[in-house]
Every structure is written in structure tokens, then in C-alpha cells.
């Protein structure tokens, strides 16, 4: 009888009989309490590290919107044409380098959906002959010609420019600003591409297109000083096209890492000459920021504090759990 084959007898496998070998972790006191303690201590450690690092980072931020009492460039706020203004600051000690020079915009909604989609990635990839995609919104065509680069993002590109001078013995000494490689390498080499040059001329490659309506110069002429830094591969353009996630943001303008300033900005007085083009006074503010960075990036005490708080909470929690555990005993003891 035993050997007789019964066809419908279910297979005796661990799977069908739900006997698969398994690891059955239990949140036992032996794991949870030390775990909390360990994580708590680790977090406190990280938090202290972060906090100290963050505190050691120097930041110099100057608002130059032109409105309000503390702001420079008040002369330029109401001017419609390009306007120059100056921003002076002094350093009492060496601002350790490498120093990074950012511009910051606040209350600027690069993350509004319609703004964020208003670009044509295929065009930016070098295909200027195609008609720009519809999301480019009202900045698709101008004078019956394709706008290159199309879309609201490009159209609203930040176009203030800065020159930094150190006042040495009453003379202005230009601080060299390095604009190379301020954008992501991937943007520069993969995501953006200039159209193929025609007879070595980038301008010819952009034939049949017009500049964005807000722009003063066409895209192939963004940086007259450096012919290689033009077209879609202009570093400032690349930086601008990487839209910010939040309404207050910084964008890298230049690095200060050459000449006498490799080790930072020495103590002294500085003047920043600003070509004030970009109107933001209606909705927000703009500023310039000099900072140095550490392994964790720019100065941000949030992360350090958050780690400290969390670490502290974990330690407290482990204590509470220990007390509860000691007092109320293990489950299952009474059964």
C-alpha cells in the first residue's frame, strides 16, 4: 500500500509544506537596548563631528538686492539699463581657501513645475534644428525663429557679473576668479552638447535660431573672453540650467584658487564690482556668498544638530527601555 503511487498526494517539500528554513528575528531586549545605545552614541559622535566641521567653515554673505537698509546696490534697483554698483567688505583674518564664490537667490521658484519643465533636453544636446518641444512654453519661438536655448529656464538665466578686487595700498588688485569646471562634469560632457560647428564657427551652427528674449547676447557669444566657454557648454549656463530644488538657493559663480589667493583670501579690504542686470526685487533677494567647504560641503548646522538630537533621543530611549524591561520583565515568563 505504501509504495502505491497516489497521484494527488501533495509533494513533501519544505516549500509546499511551509517549512522553509527561516531566520526569525525577534525584537528582544538583548538586541534593541544595546542597539539603541550604540546608534545613539554613534549619532552623537557623527553629530559632534558634523557640528564642529560646520562651525569651522567660514561664510561671508552679502545681500546686494538694493532694497532695504543693509543692502548695497540701491542705486541699481530702479534702473532699467545695465548698472554698476560696488559692494565693499573687509576681512580681519585670512579667509582660508579654497574659497568659493556663489550667488544666492531667495524666494526664487525654480522648482515650479511649469518653470522646471520649460526646457528642451534634446535641443540642449545639440539638436538646434528641430522645433523646440511644447513645454518650452511661450519661449519657443521669437520672430518666427527657434529660440536657442528655448524655455523659461534659459530665458531667465542669471546675468549679473562680478569682479572682485582686493584693496592693497589703495589700489585695486584683481582677485582672479576661476570659472572652469564649476558645473557638473556630467552636464558638461554628457547632458549638454553644442551643435556641430560649421566651418569652425559656433555662431554658424546656431544659424536659424535666435537668442532668448531676455538675453543681451546670443548663446554662442556668452563668454567673449573664452571662445571655448560658449554655446550650451557655457559653465554659467550649465550651472543655471541645473534647477534648484528649493526656492532659496546658491549657485556657484567662481572659484578663487589662483595666484596669491590659493590659500584663501588674506585679511584686508575688498571691493566687489557688480554689473547689476538681474531684477529680483519684486519677489525676492539676491546675494553673494564667499565660503570654503569641508568634506560635508558648505556650512550647515542642521545636519549636525539633527544628528546630536537623534543620538541623544536614542540614548534616552535605550535607558527608558532598559527601565521598562527591568521592571516589567520578559514577555512569556508567566505563560
Amino acid at each position: 500500500m505504501k509504495t502505491q503511487e497516489t497521484t494527488s498526494r501533495p509533494d513533501n517539500t519544505a516549500f509546499t509544506q511551509q517549512r522553509l528554513p527561516a531566520w526569525q528575528p525577534v525584537l528582544s531586549a538583548g538586541i534593541v537596548i544595546p542597539g539603541f545605545l550604540f546608534i545613539g552614541l554613534a549619532f552623537i559622535g557623527i553629530g559632534i563631528g558634523l557640528f564642529i566641521t560646520s562651525q569651522s567653515i567660514q561664510v561671508l554673505e552679502r545681500d546686494y538686492t538694493g532694497t532695504g537698509s543693509s543692502s548695497a546696490c540701491s542705486n541699481c534697483v530702479s534702473s532699467n539699463i545695465s548698472c554698476f554698483c560696488q559692494l565693499n567688505f573687509s576681512l580681519s583674518a585670512l579667509f582660508p581657501g579654497p574659497v568659493f564664490f556663489y550667488y544666492g537667490l531667495s524666494n526664487y521658484y525654480q522648482n515650479v513645475r511649469k518653470y522646471g519643465v520649460s526646457r528642451d533636453d534634446e535641443q540642449l544636446w545639440g539638436d538646434v534644428s528641430k522645433s523646440p518641444c511644447s513645454t518650452c512654453g511661450p519661449y519657443q519661438y521669437s520672430q518666427n525663429m527657434t529660440i536657442a536655448p528655448c524655455g523659461a529656464i534659459a530665458n531667465s538665466m542669471f546675468n549679473d557679473s562680478f569682479t572682485l578686487y582686493q584693496l592693497v595700498n589703495m589700489t585695486k588688485k584683481t582677485v582672479p576668479l576661476d570659472g572652469k569646471g564649476i558645473a557638473w562634469w556630467t552636464d558638461y560632457s554628457i547632458k549638454f552638447r553644442n551643435p556641430t560647428e560649421v566651418y569652425g564657427s559656433l555662431a554658424a551652427a546656431f544659424n536659424g535660431t535666435v537668442k532668448p528674449v531676455n538675453w543681451a547676447k546670443p548663446v554662442y557669444d556668452l563668454d567673449p573672453s573664452n571662445p571655448a566657454n560658449n554655446g550650451f557648454l557655457n559653465q554659467d549656463f550649465l550651472v543655471w540650467m541645473r534647477t534648484a530644488a528649493l526656492p532659496d538657493f546658491w549657485k556657484l559663480y567662481r572659484r578663487i584658487n589662483a595666484g596669491d589667493y590659493v590659500s584663501g583670501l588674506p585679511a584686508g579690504n575688498y571691493t566687489l564690482e557688480i554689473q547689476y542686470n538681474y531684477p529680483v526685487a519684486d519677489f525676492g533677494r539676491k546675494s553673494v556668498i564667499f565660503t570654503n567647504v569641508a568634506w560635508m560641503g558648505a556650512r550647515n548646522s542642521f545636519l549636525g544638530i539633527a544628528y546630536l538630537v537623534m543620538g541623544f533621543l536614542c540614548v534616552v530611549m535605550s535607558m527608558v527601555m532598559l527601565i521598562v524591561y527591568a521592571k516589567f520583565n520578559t514577555p512569556g515568563e508567566d505563560s
Partner: protein
């Protein structure tokens, strides 16, 4: 152990293959199939029609029995009018009460589940059917269905359109289609179309594949049935035709053991008088044979082909319907009219038995046959979790709308206050004219973005999990019954988690709790007991499989399956002890069993009740073989020689007499009366000389009864020739007069059955199925209330109640409700309730005032405080009253206060009503378990129907949601599979809602920082893949494999089942908690990166505060957080879980880097704008620090709360888990539940079926076949044969004229008869 006779009479059982083959004929019940069609509803609900008949699906059962009993004489005149027997209105009017609103709503929500089966409708509303025999041309004028059945829904061409149409009727799918359309509108399209279409197509494909597979199997089974062969009379010749080519009006020939191909009018048969025998097991579950008789005029056609070909009768009859027991029609032939009724109809699904051949004319074919009209479509059952789930999805819709509105308002305000100043850089498009309109568009944009809170994959995942659980049930070897090669089967895949919430079990008795096998276990002969065996020290030996049984090989005619262990009885026989011989002679003579001897020595007994069969088989093995009978003789093969007794009279059994006797003349010419019956009855009629023996026998009887055996006393009497002749004469006169016949006869019987000599007593075990008491004990511990609903007698039911430990002697009180009127029933119920409440109050409240008690009256909490144990037993008659509208609450209250409830003599309708009552008022999950056709209604009514694939046919199994072979598997089904399913489903749902909230709500928070512009936080591809790729498999694995407690502990700790009953693991509160957790997580997920990203730069000074880095950081945190969370939720990490969890994380990073890679960007530059983001952001320590912090902040509180909860308020599950953990290292010891031995002093004394016997049928000789009596002396003529037929016909006419009264009356009669003794018994 003893003699085993199966209820089918020892072996005429249908061959199993054919049963299996036939199953395919009945369309399988599937959850996704259209549910109740209107006629179906009628039959399920079993409404009483205007003429007072109860119509029940498979209701043949209830109708047939009374009718059968009408064939034999009635001893009691109808005593009561049916008006006071059955409530007139209440029971039915309640059945039409509309289902509760939730149910209704769901029908609207998922109309594809609804009823849509045009095939069931009669084309053109047929009002009357005209069928002409042998005239296809004539019949083709009518749109009658042919004999092809089609249960499949699609064919190759129609599959796609129909299936898609069905799927889009599902609200969830339609919703996503709507979203898809929204996404195509550029102004509001916040997400690309592919985010919706990819999951939608996936979901549709999975469902379509499942539907296609189902339908393929339906096609196959249809094909198999449709191509069966049958012999059709075409052009004067019999030709083989496929079933599907048989037409209405055809004459077909059936042979023995063939299935009837369509509903036929019986024309002629091989048996005399145009009789033929059919077995209707597939139709109504009854295994006994039924007789059908052709009209005399048509039976004369015989098998004469030419005559049959010339037959051109026309049948005018009722249109197709689903009433198995009714048929009205007229045959017009040769200018004569012949009335036709159900007795002349062979229904599709029956099997021809004991009849060589018969001819029939097809009346209904294919889908119009009564079988097809009746079967298949069950009400679609939905689990309470699913109902809750649907409600919650609605809530989520509401929540979604709220969020949309909030964000839309936010957008209007933002545009007004901030956005207008920003228009230098972001120009409004032409269509945008006001900020309000912008808000309106934003609303739709946000509906698109936030749609993921209503997860598209939820329904599919739930289906997949349920399917998996169903397979686990099918695969469970511990629910596989080897003896019949029967694995458990989950016939519906949608109810698994409901199994973990069952609170009430309604069980049938016969075939479910018991095996319906009677075993001759012990006997007491002449003051000595046989049956127990003792070892050398005189200790009783427990009988086991290994105990050597008595060798009956001396007897060539023995039944090989019979087992008996006590050798002394055989020795006594061999020694020729006269009393022992007389004892077995009595057993061999005094019965109404029919024998059939197919081959020499191969005896098959057809017993009316299994008890009788057991006794006759016992006598057979001990050398007194009942071999054959004719109306006048009984032939025995007594210890090796043939002895023929002349049968002079059968004094048949009925409920008042509780005994039966035969009077025979043996070969020496002596006249003897042999009697067997209930001891109480028989002891009163003994000769006083028997007093001593009576005393000892009585002691033995007590002993037997204590072991739960059914006992009978046996006695004989020598009759004086002269006295007998006189008696016989009076008997003859009495049996011919018309008035008071029954009374006269019974007084005659009473007279002759006096001064008998006691022989002894028999003890028969009504074998419980294996493990029934243990199962019941275990289920009771799991707080499941078990009600037994049986069609059986009160006594039997109680006896079984005791033997399976549901009733115990130590119970405080067993209430027996046997009132005849509403008032009596009410009084009895009220008394019982007051008694319980009074005692309960005394115990619990220390006797506080009655006001308080009133307050508690409906309070279920109060039930808990009752510590004493009570039982309620109510018979069908009282139940009919108690189920009336004004008493049902009282009944329910009282019944729920009792530990055990037994309802006996209940009709199938009442079974359903009781279930419905509990379902309606207790809001508890009910499970009905049964094996017979009479359980179908309750199986369909209960939330979960379980069919025992037993001996009573397949009807119950076909109607059921789960089926297996043994009652004891119920324990495993509920406590292991049900509990796990419920647990898994709850954990799955909790996690699923949590996951989607955590995922989606980040957009809500982001809305406040992006000008409410419906900007997405994540990459669109991430949104597309999150639910279907990144997080689907780990949670599926958890839903399929997780075990909080292993199966041994699930069974050992039945209390673990309670959370399911109380609905603790997933309810609105739990849902609220998990959505709260989701909201918290989304908050953390957004605001920690928000804080960290206020001015983040890379360590080379370039920025990472951009949208894309932000998206990648949050997405990665989310994936890690939900993976950690599923890890925490998974209690049982199998290799599959490991693979899926780690695999999902790996896949996430793989896809992330792939989609951010140069290669894919250069192919589709516009679709993968995230190029380079992953490598620029995920290489930064600060980003990882953000992810780490986010994960810990999300997970730690959950861990802490869980730890503290298990520490402070450990549930039983936690404790068991803890124990399990502790004992993992040691070997878990097996602590089997000790078998509960019962001790009882109750005695049950009868061994007859509830019907009157076949006495008249035997003496008339009509049912004796020539073939089976070859060993008997030729009788020459069959006395009274014609008169029997006449009386049969007369009776039938009588019955026809009083059809309405008949079944009810005989029903009442039996009850009336049984009430008194039963009550005495209890008192």
C-alpha cells in the same frame, strides 16, 4: 474493532472514477463567475412558495424523503394541520430583506462580479414547451437549447474585448484609465503618461492571464462532457452521438451505470412495469436508489426499434426551471392525454442503476436541464477584510480629494501673492487667466501626482497572495486523506483570510462529525458480554490497529472488511451455544435488508439504515449469512448449510413502536417471532422468567451506553400454530379495512409481541470521524462556537453531542426546546435564558437588582461573564417557531449564552436560516461545514462553506469554498492556514498602505515649497517603478511566507486564534495607525533633506541643491526606509524573503544608475534627464548622512514603540513567539492533546433509520429482482405483485391530490412521535 458497513449498503457504491468524471459536468464554482441568477437566488434562499412547499436547492432531499415514506403505510394519521406546523410568513418574508448597504455598494463598485449570464435566461421567455418525439424538424421551430453546455466565458476572438471590458468595469482600473486620460491633457499633466500606463498594463495583463487560464480549463471540461457518447435513435437505428449533438425530442438509449445525458422522459425499460432505478447522488446527494416508472402505454414500446421510431407523442410541459423535484407536463399520443410528473423524468446527472437499459425522450437539453439550471453559480462571497479594504480605499479617495483641494487653494493663493511677481521669469500661458483657474488645474495635476495613495497594485497583490495561500492549502499534506487519495482543496481563492476570523461553525452531523459507518462493536448474549479483550492479567486491552482480529476464514461468505477482536464469541459459535446461534439467527432474519449476489459468494447488502446493515453483516460473519429473500422466504446460509425460512409477517418499525419483528416458520415447522428494538420498549414485553437476565443485560446496556454505543435489545418468542393462524386472520382483516387501519394493526402487533424471551443486546458504534472530539475541543478553546445542525433525530444528535464532547454530564444544564406552539417555544426559551442569566448574575454580579440585568440583556460583554456551561438543544419543529421574527432574537440570545447548540430535525432551509440569523445579528464570521446536499443551502449562506468530500455525493463539495475529506482537518484549516492567512493579509495591508502614504505624501509637503505647482519630488521613472518593481516583491514574500508563530504552536495555543475573531490585526484603527506612520515617514523623508539641502554643496564646491539630487536623495531614503520597515515586519525570513528584500535594494540601485547613465541618455535624451545625478550625489558623504539620518529617524520610533508594547502589553502571540525563540535550541517537545475520554451514563437505544421500513415493499415482493434470488427456491409467482403496483399507484394518486400536505405531514408526524420518548429520556 467491529463490523463496518458503509451506508451505501455494502458496496454498490458508484465506481469512484465515474464520480470524478462527472464532476467535470458541473461547472466549477469560481469566485469570479457571475453570481446568483434570479432563479438561483430563489433556490438558495429556499423560499416557501404559495402552495406551501419548501423549495430548496437540491431540495429533492427534503421532498423525496417524505414521499418515500408515503410508499409504506403510515401508522399515525396526520395529527396536526400544517398551519400550526410551520410558520406561515415570517420565515420567508425575512429572506427578502435587502442586504446591508455595504454589500450593495460593493455590487456597484465591482459590477463585473455581478450577474451577467444570458445563457440562463430562456430565449423569448418560453412559457410552455412543446416537444415532439422523433421529429427534429418540428422541434427546431422552437429556440430550444441543444445539449451542448458551455461554462466558458470567452473564445479566442472575444477574449480581448470582453476581458478588457470586464476589467475596466472594476472601479480601480477605470480610475486609472481616467488618470491616464487626465495625463494626456498638457495643462494639467504633472506626470508622463507612462507612470500610469506601465502599472496599468501590468495589472491588466496579470488579470487577463489568470482569466484566460481559468477559461481554458473551463473549455477543456466542457469539451470533455460535450463529447461523451450516447446512443440516439436516428432513422430507426441506434447511433452513437456525442452528447452535444443530442437534440430535444430525440429518443436515446441508456445502459446500466451510464449517466443520463439530458432531462429525459422515461419511455420504457428493461425492468417490469417500466420501472427503472436511478441514483441521484450528483443531483441531490442521496445515495439510495430511487424508482422511476414509465407510463404504461410507453413502457409497452419496450426495446422495439420500429415502434420506438414510430413513436410520435408530443409532450407539452413547463418551461425549463431549476426545481429538481417538480415536473408538470402532458403527453399527447394517439389522441390520448397522459399526465406526466417528476416520477417519469430522468434528470441529467443521475445514473442508471440496476436497470439493464431504458429508453427516454429528451425534454430539456444542455443548459436548460434542471441540473444546469441549478448548479454552478454561487453568490460571490467577499471577506470582511476586503469589505474594509474597499471602504478604506474610498476613504483614501476622500483624503486624496482633500489634499487636492488644499493644494489647489494653496496654489491660487500662491499665484495671487507670490507667483504674480515672478512672472518676469515664468509667463502665464494664454489659457491661464486667473489664479483661481490655475488652482483648478493644479487640483487635477495633484490628483494625478497623488494617485499613488490609491495603489493600483493593491488589488492584484491581494489576489496573488490569496492565490498563494490557496495553493498552500491544496499542498498541505496534513490535510491530505490518503485512504481516499483526497487532498484538501481551496475551491475559491478569495476567502482565505476570513478563515482566520471564524467565530461560529455550523456543522452537519452525519458524514461530517460521524463517518456514517456503523460498526458492530459489542454484544451481550445471555448475560455475557463479548467484544472487549483482556490480557492475561484480566486488564482490558485498548483496541488499536495492531490488535489481532478474529479470523473468519472458516466462513466463505464473510465480509472481509468486518473486524472483530473478541475470539470468545467465535468459539461460542463453534461450540454451538444455542443462545448465541439464536442471537445471530435473529440478526440474520429480523431486518428489511435486501441482498444482491452478483457473483457466487459476493454478497452485497442494501440496507435502509447503516445500523441494520451492520447487524446483518455481523451475523453474516459469525456464520449466519443472510443470502436472499423473496416475499415469502428468507434464505440463510447457517454455519455452512442452506436453511430457508418461511416469512410469515413483518411487523415493521416505526417511531412509536421503536421495535421491529418478523414471524418466520423454520424448517422444522416451528413458528417463531424475532424482535429487536429499544431496550426500554422490549424489556416491558418480556416474559417474567427473564428478570435475572434482564437485570444483567440492563447492566451491560448501561456499560455500552457509557461508551457512546447505540444499543438494541433482542428477543424471540415461540408461537403456537393455532394462535398464529388466528392472529394472521385478524391481521389480514385489519390490513384491508380502511378506517383506523393503523391503530388496529398496531394493537395487533402489540398483542403478539408479548412475553418474549430475551436473547441479549447489541452495541453499535456510530463511528465518529477520526479526531472529532479533539478537533471540537481545540476549536472550542479557540473561542469558536460550534453549532450542530442536523436532519437527524434528537436522540442521535444528542448521542453524538455527548460522544464528541460537546455535551457533557458536568454541564450545568442542557436545555431541550421541543415546544409545539409559538407560545411553548417562547416560554421554554425564556425560561432557559432567565436561568442562565440568573445564575450568571448570581455568579458575576453577586445578585444585583434586576434592572441591571436588563441592561445587560443585549450586552455581549455579559456573555463573557457567564462561567457556567449550558447547552441548548432545539428540534426543527420548535426551530421553525423560534425563527419567526419576534422570537429569533430570543433564540439567538439564548443560544449564544450556551456553550453548545444542537439543532436537530432541521430542514435545509432552516439550516440556512439559522446561519443567516447569526450572520445578521452577531456580525460574526460564520463557517458551515457539511457533506450532503441538504447542507448546500447553509454552505452557500455562510461566509465560508466547507464541504466534506464524503460519501453523500459531490453536491456539498461543489457548493463549497473549501473541501477536504475529514472533519478534523478543519482545525488545521482554521488554526493554521486561516490564522496565517489573516495575519499575513493584515500585515500586508498595513504595510501596503503605509508604504504608499510614505511614498506619496512627500509630494504634499513639497507642494508648500514649490508654489503648489504639482511638481514631483521624484523622477518619473521612480514613480512608475516604485510600486511595481522596487517594493512589490518583499511585501509579497511577506504576505506569502510570513509566520508569526509556527504551526505547532498555532495548534497548541488555540487562543492565538482570537485576535482574528476580534478583528484586531487590521481594522480602522490599525489603518489609521499605519497611515499615520506613513505620514510621519513622508514628513521625515521630506523635511530632513529639506533642512540639509538649504545650501548644500559638494566637497568640490559645486552644487547639489538641485532638484534632481534632491529627488535621488529622497527616493533612496524612501527605498531604504521601506526596506528596513519590511525587514522589521517580516518575522520569518526565508531565503525568498532575503532574496527579494536584498534583491529589491540591489535592483533599485542598478536601475537608478542605469537610468542615470550616459548610454540610455544618448538613446532617449528627452526621457532620461537625470543623467549623471546618481553619481554626482550618491558619491557625497553628506548625502549618505542625510539618508542615514532619515532612515534612523523613520525607523527608530517604530522599533521603540514595538519593543515597549511587547514589553508592557505582550499579546499571546508575543509570548508564544518568545517561547518559540527560547525553545528553538532545545528540541520542541510534542505535547499532544490528551484524548478526551468521556464518561456518561446516558443510554441511546435504537438502531433504525427515522423512516418506516421497507416492510410492505418486501412482502409485496416488487422490489426483488429475479437475478438476486438465484439461490432461493423458485417462487413461481409473486404474490400480490399486481396489487402492490396498484396500491403504489393508488398511493401516488392520493399523494398527488394532497401533495401540499403530504411531506409536511409526514414530517410532523415523525417529530411528534419522537418528542415524547426523547423527552422522557432526558428527564
Amino acid at each position: 474493532m467491529g463490523l463496518r458497513v458503509n451506508s451505501q449498503g455494502g458496496g454498490t457504491a458508484r465506481p469512484l472514477e465515474s464520480e470524478g468524471a462527472f464532476v467535470a459536468d458541473l461547472p466549477r464554482l469560481r469566485p469570479d463567475e457571475p453570481c446568483i441568477s434570479p432563479p438561483q437566488l430563489r433556490s438558495i434562499m429556499a423560499v416557501r412558495t404559495s402552495d406551501g412547499l419548501y423549495e430548496v436547492l437540491g431540495g429533492g432531499v427534503w421532498q423525496e424523503k417524505p414521499r418515500a415514506s408515503a410508499l409504506v403505510w403510515r401508522n399515525r394519521p396526520p395529527s396536526r394541520r400544517r398551519d400550526d406546523t410551520f410558520p406561515k410568513t415570517a420565515a420567508c418574508s425575512r429572506m427578502t430583506v435587502p442586504k446591508d448597504m455595504a454589500e450593495k455598494w460593493l455590487w456597484m463598485l465591482m459590477p463585473w462580479r455581478g450577474c451577467r449570464n444570458p445563457r440562463n435566461k430562456d430565449p423569448g421567455q418560453e412559457e410552455e414547451r412543446h416537444v415532439k418525439a422523433n421529429d427534429r424538424d418540428y422541434n427546431e421551430k422552437f429556440p430550444y437549447a441543444d445539449n451542448r453546455i458551455r461554462t466558458s466565458k470567452y473564445n479566442v476572438l472575444t477574449f480581448l474585448p470582453i476581458n478588457l471590458f470586464e476589467q475596466f468595469q472594476r472601479v480601480a482600473n477605470a480610475y486609472f484609465l481616467f488618470l491616464l486620460i487626465l495625463q494626456l491633457i498638457p495643462q494639467i499633466s504633472s506626470l508622463s503618461w507612462f507612470t500610469t500606463i506601465v502599472p496599468l498594463v501590468l495589472v491588466l495583463t496579470i488579470t487577463a492571464v489568470k482569466d484566460a487560464t481559468d477559461d481554458y480549463f473551463r473549455h477543456k471540461s466542457d469539451q470533455q462532457v460535450n463529447t461523451r457518447q450516447s446512443q440516439v435513435l436516428i432513422g430507426g437505428k441506434l447511433q452513437n452521438e456525442k452528447w452535444m449533438n443530442v437534440c430535444v425530442g430525440d429518443i436515446i438509449k441508456l445502459e446500466n451505470n451510464q449517466f443520463v445525458a439530458a432531462d429525459l422522459l422515461l419511455l420504457s425499460s428493461s425492468e417490469p412495469y417500466g420501472l427503472c432505478y436511478i441514483e441521484t447522488a450528483e443531483l441531490d446527494g442521496e445515495t439510495n436508489l430511487k424508482v422511476r416508472q414509465a407510463l404504461t402505454v410507453t413502457s409497452e414500446l419496450g426495446m422495439d426499434m420500429s415502434k420506438l421510431t414510430e413513436f410520435d407523442g408530443e409532450v407539452v410541459c413547463e418551461p425549463p426551471n431549476n426545481k429538481l423535484d417538480r415536473f408538470v407536463g402532458t403527453l399527447y399520443w394517439k389522441d390520448n392525454r397522459y399526465p406526466l410528473d417528476n416520477e417519469k423524468l430522468l434528470l441529467r446527472g443521475c445514473m442508471l442503476r440496476n436497470t439493464e437499459w431504458c429508453f427516454g425522450m429528451v425534454i430539456f437539453a444542455g443548459p436548460q436541464t434542471k441540473l444546469m439550471q441549478n448548479c454552478g453559480r454561487t453568490a460571490f462571497k467577499r471577506t470582511s477584510i476586503e469589505r474594509l479594504m474597499n471602504t478604506l480605499v474610498l476613504w483614501i479617495f476622500g483624503f486624496l480629494l482633500c489634499m487636492g483641494i488644499i493644494l489647489a487653494i494653496g496654489n491660487s493663493i500662491w499665484e495671487q501673492k507670490v507667483g504674480r511677481n515672478f512672472r518676469d521669469y515664468l509667463v502665464w500661458e494664454d489659457v491661464l487667466t486667473t489664479s483661481v483657474f490655475s488652482g483648478f488645474l493644479t487640483f487635477w495635476s495633484y490628483i494625478i501626482i497623488l494617485n499613488t495613495v490609491v495603489p493600483i497594485s493593491l488589488y492584484v497583490s491581494v489576489e496573488v497572495i490569496r492565490l498563494g495561500h490557496s495553493y498552500f492549502i491544496n499542498w498541505d499534506r496534513k490535510m491530505y486523506y490518503g485512504r481516499r487519495d483526497m487532498p484538501a482543496e481551496a475551491r475559491t481563492t478569495t476567502l482565505n483570510e476570513e478563515l482566520g476570523q471564524v467565530e461560529y461553525i455550523f456543522s452537519d452531523k452525519t458524514g461530517t462529525l460521524t463517518q456514517n459507518i456503523m460498526v458492530f462493536n459489542k454484544c451481550s448474549i445471555n448475560g455475557r458480554t463479548y467484544g472487549d479483550i483482556y490480557d492475561e492479567f484480566g486488564h482490558k486491552v485498548e483496541i488499536s490497529e495492531k490488535t489481532p482480529c478474529v479470523d473468519f476464514s472458516f466462513n466463505p461468505l464473510r465480509d472481509r472488511k468486518f473486524r472483530f477482536y473478541d475470539h470468545s464469541l467465535v468459539e461460542a459459535i463453534k461450540l454451538g451455544d444455542p443462545m448465541v446461534e439464536e442471537f445471530f439467527r435473529l440478526l440474520a432474519l429480523c431486518h428489511t435488508v435486501m441482498s444482491e449476489e452478483k457473483n457466487e459468494g459476493e454478497l452485497v447488502y442494501q440496507a435502509q439504515s447503516p445500523d441494520e446493515g451492520a447487524l446483518v453483516t455481523a451475523a453474516r460473519n459469525f456464520g449466519f449469512v443472510f443470502r436472499a429473500r423473496t416475499p415469502e422466504t428468507i434464505t440463510l446460509y447457517e454455519m455452512g448449510k442452506h436453511v430457508t425460512y418461511q416469512l410469515l409477517a413483518i411487523l415493521d418499525f416505526n417511531n412509536v413502536r421503536k421495535r421491529m419483528s418478523v414471524i418466520v416458520r423454520n424448517q422444522t415447522g416451528q413458528i417463531k417471532l424475532y424482535s429487536k428494538g429499544a431496550d426500554t420498549i422490549l424489556f416491558d414485553r418480556l416474559d417474567p422468567a427473564n428478570d435475572d437476565l434482564m437485570y444483567t443485560t440492563s447492566e451491560h446496556l448501561n456499560e455500552f451506553a457509557g461508551e457512546g454505543l447505540r444499543t438494541l435489545a433482542l428477543a424471540y418468542k415461540d408461537l403456537d400454530e393455532k394462535y398464529f393462524a388466528d392472529w394472521m386472520k385478524r391481521h389480514h382483516i385489519a390490513s384491508t379495512i380502511l378506517e383506523n387501519r393503523e391503530d388496529l394493526l398496531s394493537s395487533l402487533y402489540e398483542e403478539i409481541e408479548q412475553d418474549m424471551m430475551l436473547l441479549g443486546a447489541t452495541a453499535i458504534e456510530d463511528k465518529l470521524q477520526e479526531g472529532v472530539p479533539e478537533t471540537i475541543a481545540c476549536l472550542t478553546l479557540a473561542s469558536i462556537k460550534i453549532w450542530v445542525l442536523t436532519g437527524d433525530k434528537l436522540e442521535t444528535a444528542m448521542n453524538i453531542g455527548y460522544s464528541c464532547n460537546m455535551l457533557r454530564d458536568d454541564m450545568n444544564e442542557v436545555f431541550i426546546i421541543t415546544g409545539h406552539t409559538v407560545l411553548e417555544v417562547q416560554q421554554q426559551l425564556r425560561r432557559a435564558k432567565e436561568l442562565i442569566l440568573g445564575a450568571g448574575r448570581g455568579a458575576a454580579n453577586g445578585g444585583k437588582d434586576a434592572e441591571k440585568m436588563d441592561r445587560y440583556r443585549d450586552d455581549s460583554v455579559f456573555e463573557e461573564t457567564i462561567t457556567s456551561e449550558y447547552a441548548l438543544i432545539i428540534n426543527g419543529h420548535s426551530l421553525a417557531h423560534a425563527l419567526e421574527a419576534d422570537l429569533e432574537c430570543l433564540l439567538l440570545d439564548t443560544a449564544c449564552l450556551c456553550k453548545t447548540v444542537v439543532c436537530c430535525r432541521v430542514t435545509p432551509l432552516q439550516k440556512a436560516q439559522v446561519v443567516e440569523l447569526v450572520k445578521r445579528y452577531k456580525r460574526a464570521v460564520t463557517l458551515a461545514i457539511g457533506d450532503g446536499a441538504n447542507d448546500v443551502s447553509m454552505i452557500k449562506t455562510a461566509h465560508i462553506g466547507v464541504g466534506i468530500s464524503g460519501q453523500e455525493g459531490m453536491q456539498a463539495v461543489l457548493a463549497s469554498d473549501y473541501s477536504f475529506a475529514q472533519f478534523r482537518y478543519l482545525q488545521r484549516l482554521l488554526l493554521v492556514h486561516g490564522r496565517w492567512s489573516y495575519y499575513r493579509m493584515c500585515r500586508f495591508l498595513c504595510y501596503f498602505f503605509y508604504k504608499n502614504f510614505a511614498f506619496t505624501l512627500v509630494h504634499f509637503w513639497f507642494g508648500f515649497f514649490c508654489g503648489f505647482s504639482a511638481q514631483t519630488v521624484y523622477d518619473q521613472w521612480f514613480i512608475t517603478l516604485f510600486n511595481i518593481v522596487y517594493t512589490s516583491l518583499p511585501v509579497l514574500a511577506m504576505g506569502l511566507f510570513d509566520q508569526d508563530v509556527n504551526e505547532q504552536n498555532s495548534l497548541r495555543q488555540p487562543k492565538l486564534f482570537e485576535p482574528g475573531q476580534l478583528n484586531l490585526l487590521f481594522n480602522k484603527r490599525q489603518f489609521f495607525m499605519c497611515t499615520l506612520q506613513g505620514i510621519y515617514t513622508s514628513c521625515v523623508l521630506f523635511f530632513i533633506p529639506y533642512g540639509a539641502f538649504s545650501n548644500p554643496v559638494r566637497d568640490d564646491g559645486s552644487q547639489i541643491a538641485d532638484q534632481q539630487s534632491f529627488a535621488v536623495t529622497i527616493a533612496t531614503s524612501l527605498i531604504i526606509v521601506v526596506s528596513v520597515q519590511i525587514g522589521l515586519d517580516t518575522n520569518y525570513w526565508t531565503a525568498v524573503n532575503h532574496f527579494y528584500i536584498w534583491g529589491s535594494l540591489t535592483v533599485y540601485f542598478a536601475i537608478l544608475f542605469a537610468m542615470h547613465s550616459d548610454g540610455i541618455f544618448s538613446i532617449f535624451p528627452s526621457h532620461f534627464p537625470f543623467v549623471g545625478t546618481a553619481r554626482n550625489s550618491l558619491t557625497q558623504t553628506s548625502v549618505w548622512l542625510v539618508i542615514l539620518l532619515t532612515t534612523v529617524v523613520c525607523v527608530m520610533p517604530v522599533v521603540a514603540i514595538r519593543f515597549l508594547r511587547t514589553d508592557l502589553y505582550p499579546t499571546l502571540t508575543d509570548k508564544v513567539r518568545h517561547m518559540q525563540q527560547a525553545s528553538r535550541k532545545q528540541r520542541p517537545q510534542e505535547q499532544n492533546l490528551k484524548r478526551v475520554r468521556r464518561t456518561s451514563s446516558r443510554r441511546s437505544a435504537y438502531a433504525f433509520s427515522h423512516q418506516e421500513g421497507y416492510g410492505e415493499l418486501i412482502t409485496s415482493g416488487k422490489n426483488i429482482k429475479a437475478a438476486s434470488s438465484f439461490s432461493a427456491p423458485p417462487t413461481g409467482r409473486i404474490p400480490g405483485s399486481s396489487s402492490w403496483i396498484e396500491s403504489l399507484l393508488k398511493k401516488r394518486n392520493e399523494m398527488a391530490s394532497s401533495t401540499v400536505v403530504e411531506p409536511l405531514r409526514s414530517n410532523t408526524e415523525r417529530e411528534g412521535a419522537e418528542n415524547t420518548p426523547a423527552q422522557q429520556h432526558i428527564d
